[in-house]
Symmetry: C2
Subunit: 210 residues, 2 copies
Amino acid sequence: MQIAILLFERVTVLDAIGPFEVLQHLPGAQVVFVGERAGTVRSETGSLGLTVDASLGEVTSPDVVLVPGGPGQSDHMADGPVHRWLRAVDQTSTWTTSVCTGSLILAAAGLLTGRRAATYWLAVDELAAFGAVPSRERFTFDGKYATAAGVSSGLDMALALAGRIAGERRAQGIQLGIEYDPHPPYDVGSPETAPADLVEELRGTSRFRR
Amino acid sequence: MQIAILLFERVTVLDAIGPFEVLQHLPGAQVVFVGERAGTVRSETGSLGLTVDASLGEVTSPDVVLVPGGPGQSDHMADGPVHRWLRAVDQTSTWTTSVCTGSLILAAAGLLTGRRAATYWLAVDELAAFGAVPSRERFTFDGKYATAAGVSSGLDMALALAGRIAGERRAQGIQLGIEYDPHPPYDVGSPETAPADLVEELRGTSRFRR
């Protein structure tokens, strides 16, 4: 089972690594990090370099495709090599997935039209503008499309996906293996639970503000 | 504020990236990924390459030090360059921290002797053998030493640490920014909540079994 995780400049690393940490432990999983060019891309703020091992043309029929988000998402909203690759691999993928603003890339490539999909809480309107039907769930399954909300939500989506792929018992073993028993120190992780003034503060500095 | 995150071969990527995703958003944060040699290291199963931007000798006085774990931890239990570096930077660090089996490296370097510390649930006895006092908490603060339990727990530890460094409001903004409102699909993320037979199954294949 080949799992292709897309990388690009200014990716939000946790978007990719949350699901990676889960899915790599599936039986028979072979994970490949893929991008426009083999080489190195840098994270959101430039602090971390990540190796792109395979160019798009080298990965032609992954079973699972995962598209992370991050500030660099905005470079991949126009039709181009990434969209063409996504549409091509989506023809044969078992699961096409995204985390955070990765769903905007999937939507812009035309793969989420009319489908329910999750995204980063600040990008909900943007997702709707690209023809998807935004959910406000932690993650959403619509057919073979699994989309997660912001950044850290990829962990939850990937565990649910692992359950569908390999059964609950295996997914639970992975969850225990990564000791995923979250105890956030604050209850402010979504705009529904955070104080209204904090929500407004983040909206005010968001690249998606209108 | 310089934050140095140690990388080594066969690191568990989420151990490093959970805290990275939180701490990089602290005011004035400058994150540097450091290792024995500048270049690339590969993850736990080899699937991902991560760039080490600075060698140990280039990072002499970080404010925060973070040591992740993973199978490669076992290569860093004997005295050597990594231990010497940890002891040196610990002299001036504001916070010395670890995730998962990273606490075994800190303990082997002599930095956790007599201190309460968290670690991966399968490594509790090992941590005690190196002179620390294992907690079974999600994360533990003992003076300037902040240690997290397994893999995913670095997110919780880092948010609590962010609160101590920059105040609760800033930490809460970071938590909302990464939409950390976890909804694990199963309640099996610790040995206390997982089914006993699943716990035994993982114990049976652990590299720490005795």
